[in-house]
């Protein structure tokens, strides 16, 4: 134990790289603001807002997925993840920052003057028969209060779970203390799981994303969004684990742990497909116009290519490339797949937000906007995540060395 490299030092190149990515993000944001955001036409301006809405919500939900990883493994009394658990903990430190950004964007969209994206928030929606009867749920007050509670709750409980993990770094636990410690962890993880069920697994995707199509609804939507963000969160954890391994850290994490992460990415890609298809098939089968309207621009309109690309990247690629045991244990393959999966689910969020949010003001039709600024802003968020996570990793020991389950992780074998 004495020879472990416990202290992560943020390399200069890592720092520079994250700052460059953030600069790209800010630059893209400014360019998009100048070309679209300043326009007096609210549909042109919506192009700018849609981009930051999609990016901030996606990356917030991905980093929040890392808190869910901590909570889920804690609740299941899992031990295998203990050798790299500081990685999801560090990524979870991004939640308050990304939550702040997403919160500002969301509240600005609801309370600002531009209601092209959240049509239900505009004054004329009060007389819209399709939205009127949803007002008990879909109203500005509830949206704002619930959004703030959600973001604060995630940040606070994430912080709580991280503190629980780091506070025992310098005090070895006796057996009795260990039992109490595990119990304590379980209780807080359970509290988080309840909040998670009330937010990500139900109301939050309805509020933040589904209400863009305020007339349309799908009960599957939240789980589908959750699956997207969760599989991306697992990929993000994998990327950081591989990065740290390549730099000589995390000696206790072996191919066995990587194999399990690979299995998770594989399994939840299938899970995502299952939910995606369940949502699609029921709507396709019933063929009711008010429901199929959602798939009109996506499947038969300008988003057709993205729609099928989404399915190829997020289903076929993980299915075929991660099926073999050897590919889940290979650093190169798993890194490539993790990057691909994160991009794929970013694209998935893109086709959730864009088709209804953007509209050509002349033809009144949706169109696929030039994706470059969106990718640029996305890279900015990646840079922000890298920056905050690097700092959080360097703040504490990389190994939760006094955790009672650490040994289970060291001898872990698939």
């Amino acid at each position: 134990m004495t020879t472990l490299k416990e202290q992560f030092v943020v390399p200069k190149r890592y720092n520079t790289f994250s700052l460059v990515l953030m600069a790209i993000g800010v630059l893209s944001l400014i360019i998009l603001f100048i070309t679209h955001g300043t326009s007096s036409d609210e549909h042109v301006a919506a192009r700018f807002w849609a981009s930051i809405l999609q990016n901030s919500v996606f990356f917030l939900m991905v980093t929040n997925g890392c808190i869910f990883f901590i909570a889920a493994t804690t609740l299941a009394w899992g031990g295998w993840q203990m050798s790299f658990r500081r990685v999801p903990e560090a990524i979870a430190a991004c939640v308050p920052f990304l939550g702040g950004i997403a919160g500002i964007v969301l509240l600005a969209l609801v309370f600002g003057g531009n209601h092209a994206i959240y049509h239900w928030a505009s004054p004329e929606a009060a007389h819209d028969p399709g939205i009127e009867h949803k007002a008990g749920f879909l109203n500005k007050t509830f949206f704002a209060v619930w959004t703030i509670i959600t973001i604060v709750g995630w940040s606070w409980l994430g912080k709580k779970l991280r503190t629980l993990s780091t506070e025992i770094d310098n005090k070895p636990l006796s057996v009795e203390e260990g039992k109490r410690y595990i119990w304590n962890n379980t209780v807080w993880a359970a509290v988080y799981a309840v909040l998670f069920a009330l937010t990500v697994l139900s109301s939050i995707p309805w509020f933040w994303l589904m209400s863009i199509d305020a007339h349309w609804y799908s009960t599957m939507y939240s789980w589908y969004t959750f699956a997207s963000s969760w599989v991306s969160a697992l990929s993000l954890i994998t990327l950081f684990v591989v990065y740290l391994k390549n730099n000589g850290y995390l000696e206790l994490t072996t191919k066995e742990h990587l194999h399990d992460l690979g299995k998770f990415i594989f399994a939840f890609s299938i899970f995502w497909t299952y939910l995606w298809f369940s949502q699609f098939m029921l709507i396709w089968y019933a063929n009711i116009p008010e429901e199929t309207i959602y798939f009109k621009p996506r499947l038969q309109g300008p988003y057709r290519a993205i729609f099928f690309l989404n399915l190829i990247i997020n289903f076929l690629a993980p299915l075929l490339l991660l099926m073999k045991r050897s590919s889940k244990r290979n650093y190169g393959t798993i890194t490539m797949m993790a990057v691909l999966v994160i991009f794929g689910h970013w694209l998935d969020f893109y086709q959730m937000v864009m088709p209804t949010a953007v509209m050509n003001p002349e033809t009144k039709q949706t169109y696929v906007p030039n994706m470059l600024p969106d990718i640029g802003i996305g890279l900015g968020f990646v840079g922000l995540i890298m920056f905050v996570t690097g700092r959080a990793l360097a703040k504490n020991s990389l190994v939760a060395k006094n955790h009672p389950f650490l040994k289970e992780s060291i001898i872990h074998h698939t």
Binding site: F280, Y285, N287
Partner: protein, 198 residues
């Protein structure tokens, strides 16, 4: 399939079994098999067994199932008996995907079970010789195969030194037969001493 001579060692702990397996392999004796009451992590690797190909077989059965479902439904619903169901096109893939999925699972599951039984020579009424009855209860039993060059008393001493609590030399049929244990066992191989309860 033939009757062969084995030196059979019993261990009462996997902590002694693992070094014993490694030492026996290092010395060059041929391990016929190791029988344990429960699955033991890492024993396959210690014995030098290759990874199973069962999952490859499962994949092949799976895609066979997908193809079967897809081609049959396509034939039935577009060519043999086209039906207008809710105004959907005859070739309506989304509706078939659940069935394609189910047949994939069915084919790969049933196929893998049957392949597993074939590889392990398991079937109703198929019988095999046992080295030690307590292998299914609480003992870890290692069978070392003897060739004409093997000095079995030397092997026995070697295994005893490695921590075996019980070592015996047995003649056993390695193949399978159809019959009943209570009547047939003595036909195959030379009779062995009854199991001694320690």
């Amino acid at each position: 399939m033939a009757v062969k001579k084995f030196v059979v060692a019993c261990f009462d702990d996997e902590k002694t079994l693992f070094p014993a397996v490694k030492n026996v392999r290092k010395t060059g004796y041929k391990i016929h098999d190791v029988y344990t009451p429960m699955p033991i992590h890492g024993l396959d690797a210690a014995m030098g067994l290759r990874d199973t190909s069962l999952h490859t077989a499962g994949f092949i059965y799976g895609i066979t199932g997908t193809t079967t479902a897809f081609s049959f439904i396509t034939w039935a619903l577009t060519y043999d008996w086209p039906l207008n169901i809710g105004g959907k096109p005859y070739f309506s893939l989304p509706a078939w995907i659940p069935i394609m999925f189910e047949l994939t699972v069915l084919f790969s599951a049933v196929g893998m079970v049957l392949t597993f039984c074939y590889l392990c020579q398991l079937a109703p009424f198929v019988k095999k010789d046992h080295f030690h009855l307590r292998a299914t209860d609480d003992l870890f039993v290692m069978a070392v195969e003897c060739t004409e060059k093997t000095n079995d008393s030397e092997v026995s001493d070697f295994l005893r030194n490695l921590g075996a609590i019980e070592v015996s030399t047995q003649y056993k049929e390695t193949g399978w037969w159809i019959g009943r244990y209570d009547k047939d066992t003595e036909i195959f191989g030379k009779p062995v001493e009854p199991v001694v309860q320690s």
